[in-house]
């Protein structure tokens, strides 16, 4: 019966053929050990694929991993997180400050103010050694001028598009001071010397009353009677080449800045560069950057990878657009094919990108610091955590970001190094201080004292976390290690609540004036950690006699309907942070509106003042002192119960080590270092893979506990 035979034969043959293919597949031993080329390749694995290989446009971590290797910035962070020159050899930061001349006022000697008199008065003071002018290098007059600016008019109603209005402003004559270093208190110190002249200055004197109301606020900002313009001068490294051989110079820096600021390119980096007033090029290896106002966190932005101007300038883009048959007027850097095959000055040059499979980079032989030891750098895209582990275990990848339980599994395996480092960010419980029950700091403190953070770290993070007490990254100097975490003390919490007027009623529920202490805690779905914390908190608070509901919401609903609108009681959330000390958006009282990030509504004038002063302070030590003061202040106020900082984990093949020339000229093998951020590739150039392990496996703990 042929039908019967077919029914039997078909599955047999198909299975046979499929199984047969096994004999053509190399085993892991063939691949990992038998292949000398494998030792010249570093293979990492990533959960997600890159999206756009252009540092000015990318915002995701997978793209950043590639961009960090292909592009260099002017600066980056050294092992201790201080700044280190890359494409910039050195830099100098100073200040140009401006003081408006208002002729309706009088000087201390009774003479009416003119630019010349003001200048003469200041010069005399400077010659006699007035301390307030100690930092001043030069004083000169800036004649009055007319400036035309396009101002974004405030929209009449929410949701309406903002209009750009060209406005002509007449700026009075100003005295320009050149200061050796940035001093945010310069004018405050100068004022007594001028008999209160600066305090009395009023911007409305310079404003044209006929200006449309929508632009007035911005115009007042532009005509501010005093202005601080911090200036950075970068001295660039000479002889650095892009991967195509073209030499890097200051035009590339300016071009990168312009690419970010061009609205057509929709760069996510715009906010970092918005405060820049101008980028000038005094020479091919000098860049002069002037800021509109004091904004210390802006300095770090110059770690941004530098684009090659000669490949992306207007002419090149036009040519590319025409070749692709697209409209050259609408064609932007974002559309260019450059973003799929980038060229930078970095340690590795781009090789190949197979979407959702792998990205291949090959070493750049002409790298200014000398080429890397590895010939190739490959990033495999493996979206699943278990298969990532299997791949790593089989030796076909050299390192990956592991989960705590995966590290525990390989704890005693001599073939692997484990690296653990503190993440940049923390998890917290935030209290909506618009709600009457949370307005009392004692209540917030009591709620925090009821939660056993140690247990959360032990059981939810399997020990891979550290307590945190305030708003700054624990790795930085801004974090004050002296601030003590809230003790776990349910008894003390009950006492504090009693002090605040909450007494237990017959049912064991806390109440005040007949009203029970009841609220809802929310978090977003899909995050098991936060959900667990929410339930732990609910449980702990219930035991104190508080009626707590817990609710999980889908992310979009959670953010749009609840957080952005301030419609919540308590929330479990996390912040991921930058390395700077700027927490303006999160804790300043001006940021409590809808869709702003101080959604818990924290307000403290002292904190506001410190927050503003910190972002304006260019002296690291002074900045650290203020940040620590602010840390203590916020820890006392407890707008959040600060819970913990996660530790990120990486597993590495133990055959990957650092190779440096030893004193006798022979190669010396050392454990690799990561900077305090755990950034891989910090000294990647020195990394090498040896045929057999040359160092015992190690676990580097880089936390600062």
């Amino acid at each position: 019966m042929p039908v019967k035979r077919i029914l039997f034969l078909a599955p047999t043959l198909v299975s046979f053929f499929l199984i047969l293919s096994y004999f053509w597949v190399p085993t892991f031993e063939d691949q990992a050990r038998g292949d000398p080329v494998r030792l010249t390749r570093y293979i990492s694995s990533s959960i997600g694929d890159a999206s756009i290989l252009n540092p000015t446009l990318s915002a995701d971590s997978a793209s950043s991993e590639v961009n960090d290797l292909v592009f260099d910035g002017l600066i980056d962070r050294d092992i201790d997180l201080s700044f280190r020159g890359r494409l910039a050899e050195s830099w100098r930061i100073f200040e140009e400050a401006y003081l408006a001349v208002d002729e309706s006022h009088r000087l201390p000697d009774g003479a009416s103010v003119t630019a010349e008199r003001l200048l003469a008065h200041l010069e005399v003071a400077r010659r006699t050694g007035a301390p307030s002018l100690r930092l001043v290098e030069r004083i000169e007059i800036e004649p009055p001028k007319t400036v035309t600016e396009k101002i974004e008019e405030e929209p009449e109603a929410k949701g309406k598009p903002a209009r750009m209005t060209p406005v002509t402003l007449r700026r009075p004559a100003r005295i320009k001071f050149t200061l050796a270093e940035v001093d945010q208190d310069f004018f405050k110190k100068l004022d007594p010397l001028l008999g209160g002249y600066i305090r009395r200055l009023d911007v409305s004197r310079f404003l044209d009353p006929s200006l449309p109301p929508g632009v007035k606020a911005r115009a007042a900002e532009l005509l501010s009677p005093v202005e601080h313009n911090p200036v950075i001068i970068f001295q660039l490294r000479k002889g650095v080449r892009f991967h195509d051989g073209h030499e890097f110079d200051s035009r590339d820096v300016k071009f990168t800045y312009e690419t970010i600021m061009d609205p057509k390119n929709l760069s996510p980096r715009v906010p970092d560069f918005e405060p820049v007033k101008s980028v000038e090029l005094p020479g091919p290896y000098r860049v002069r950057i002037t800021y509109k106002h004091l904004f210390q966190p802006g300095f770090e932005s110059w770690g941004m990878g530098i684009l090659p101007e000669h490949l992306l300038n207007e002419g090149e883009l036009r040519r590319e657009a025409l070749a692709l048959g697209r409209d050259p007027e609408k064609f932007s850097v974002r559309d260019s094919n450059f973003n799929r095959m980038p060229i930078g000055t970095g340690l590795f040059r781009f090789g190949e990108w197979k979407t959702d499979q792998f990205i291949k980079l090959t070493r750049f032989e002409d790298y200014w610091e000398g080429p890397a030891n590895f010939r190739e750098y490959l990033i495999r895209i493996i979206p699943d955590l278990l298969t990532t582990e299997v791949t790593f275990y089989a030796g076909t990848s050299d390192g990956y970001a592991a989960q705590p339980h995966q590290v525990a599994r390989l704890q005693n395996d001599r073939r692997f190094h484990a690296v653990s480092f503190l993440a940049l960010g923390y998890t917290y419980i935030g209290y909506n201080m618009r709600r009457p029950i949370f307005q009392d700091a004692r209540v917030r403190r009591a709620l925090g004292m009821a939660i056993n953070t140690d247990e959360i770290i032990r059981y939810i993070l399997l020990g891979h976390g550290e307590k945190t007490t305030g708003p700054f990254p624990k790795q930085t100097d801004y974090y004050d290690p002296e601030v003590q975490p809230l003790p776990y003390d349910p008894g003390g919490a009950a006492k504090l609540l009693a002090e605040a007027g909450w007494k237990k009623n017959a049912d064991g529920v806390l109440e005040r004036n007949g009203k029970p202490l009841a609220f809802t805690i929310i978090t977003n779905s899909g995050n098991e950690e936060r959900n667990a914390i929410m339930v732990i908190a609910q449980n702990a608070w219930r035991r104190l006699g508080i009626q707590v509901q817990a609710l999980t919401l889908e992310w979009a609903v959670f953010i749009n309907q609840r957080i952005d609108k301030g419609d919540f009681d308590a929330v479990v959330l996390g912040w991921s942070m930058d390395l700077n000390a700027d927490i303006y958006q999160i804790f300043h009282s001006s940021q409590t509106g809808h869709f702003q990030l101080n959604f818990v509504g924290y307000q403290n004038p002292k904190a506001d003042d410190l927050i503003v002063r910190i972002r304006q302070e260019y002296n690291h030590d002074r900045q650290v002192a203020m940040a620590r003061e602010l840390h203590g202040l916020i820890a006392r106020d407890q707008p959040y119960t600060f819970l913990y900082v996660r530790k990120s984990l990486s597993l590495m093949d133990a055959k990957v080590v650092r190779m440096v020339p030893g004193p006798d000229g022979r190669p010396q093998y050392l454990p690799f270092r990561l900077n305090k951020l755990g950034r891989i590739g910090f000294d990647f150039r020195e990394w090498v893979k040896t045929p057999t392990p040359v160092l015992p496996p190690y676990r580097s703990e880089l936390s600062q506990s």
């Binding site: 019966m1 039908v3 019967k4 029914l7 039997f8 599955p11 198909v14 053929f17 047969l20 293919s21 096994y22 053509w24 597949v25 190399p26 085993t27 892991f28 031993e29 691949q31 293979i43 997600g48 999206s51 756009i52 915002a59 974004e152 598009p161 903002a162 609205p263 929709l266 996510p268 715009v270 906010p271 970092d272 974002r334 559309d335 973003n339 799929r340 197979k354 979407t355 959702d356 499979q357 490959l378 495999r380 895209i381 493996i382 979206p383 699943d384 278990l386 298969t387 299997v390 791949t391 275990y393 089989a394 076909t396 992310w555 979009a556 953010i559 749009n560 958006q585 869709f595 990030l597």
Partner: protein, 319 residues
């Protein structure tokens, strides 16, 4: 025949229009916005977010966006929010990647489900039938991802070969035949796992269908004519029993663009299922809606094909 075709096409055109409107509206009405417009990036001002919305055309009324979307879609100018690449090319690339998986999976399902279904029907209530029933229901109930993990760990630990991705990673410079066999090997696990549930379900259908015809009058007549049991079963009964499955051929067409999110993710397979899933997570509207629309087109084509196939194989049906 022709009037039927014309009428069917006309009706399907309206269905498609309706689907395109609904799917467009649903995606846009769902909460959340493209990840590029991230509301929690601390330094973004509302004006800058507005600029993004404008560049993506999200500031316009929905019907304008709808028109613009399909104009760009049909002119091939539609680009992904994520990486600015043309959407149709992305979908095509991924479909090509998913295709071998889909083909092998289908071959496996059909090769195994029919013999299994027929055998269990012929030997119904035997020990074989009953143990198969248990096995089949077990396969239907065990989550696919769990089986996949077990299978990966088993194969990797016992055979020491790579099982994920399209091919063995980093293997270059081998002959075309070796490369082909390597690719075939990488198809084995994901397609077998993808096929298990399919085999289980389909074999149950085949079994019940066969049971129905085996008890039919004409089968009894065939037996009473003195035909051999094999002839009765595999010639007379099977033909009618398998009629409904012919229509399934048509319904395979939309599965071309379905892909399997779970297996593609676990096996790091750069297929269409993963593309769609990741697009949904980052609210990459152009990709989501395009896949949706193409799936609708293929579904409609599929139903048309299965209608036509039915006419072809069943002489009792006339159009």
């Amino acid at each position: 025949m022709f009037p039927f075709l014309l009428k069917a096409l006309w009706r399907k055109f309206w269905t498609l229009l309706f689907v395109s409107i609904v799917s467009f509206a649903v995606i846009h009405l769902a909460p959340g916005s493209p990840s590029q417009i991230d509301p929690l990036n601390p330094r973004f001002t509302p004006q800058q977010l507005e600029r993004y919305r404008k560049a993506f055309g999200l500031d316009q009324p929905l019907y304008v966006q709808y028109g613009r979307f399909y104009k760009q879609f049909f002119s091939g100018e539609l680009r992904s929010f994520k990486d600015n690449q043309p959407v149709l090319r992305k979908i095509l690339e991924r479909t090509v990647n998913s295709l071998p998986l889909f083909v092998v999976e289908t071959i496996l399902i059909w090769c195994f489900a029919f013999p299994l279904g027929i055998a269990t029907a012929v030997k119904r209530n035997s020990l074989f039938d009953r143990s198969m029933t248990v096995l089949v229901f077990a396969l239907i109930s065990i989550p696919g991802f769990y089986l996949a993990y077990l299978a990966i760990i088993f194969v990797v630990q016992s055979f020491h070969v790579d099982v994920i991705g399209l091919r063995t990673f980093g293997r270059e410079g081998v002959g075309a035949f070796s490369a082909m066999m390597d690719r075939t090997w990488h198809l084995v696990l994901p397609s077998v796992l993808g096929a298990t549930a399919g085999i289980a379900v389909l074999s149950r259908y085949v079994r019940s269908q066969m049971l129905e015809v085996i008890n039919a009058d004409y089968v009894r007549s065939a037996r009473s004519k003195g035909l051999s049991e094999d002839r009765v079963l595999y010639l007379h009964a099977l033909r009618n029993g398998l009629l409904p499955f012919v229509t399934m051929l048509g319904l395979l067409i939309p599965a071309l663009i379905g892909g399997s999110v779970i297996f593609e993710t676990i096996f790091a397979w750069p297929g269409i299922g993963r593309l769609g899933y990741e697009a949904i997570l980052s609210r990459d509207y152009p990709v989501i809606i395009s896949i949706n629309f193409l799936a609708a087109v293929l579904t409609l084509v599929g139903t048309l094909v299965s209608d036509l196939l039915y006419v072809l194989v069943d002489p009792r049906i006339r159009l």
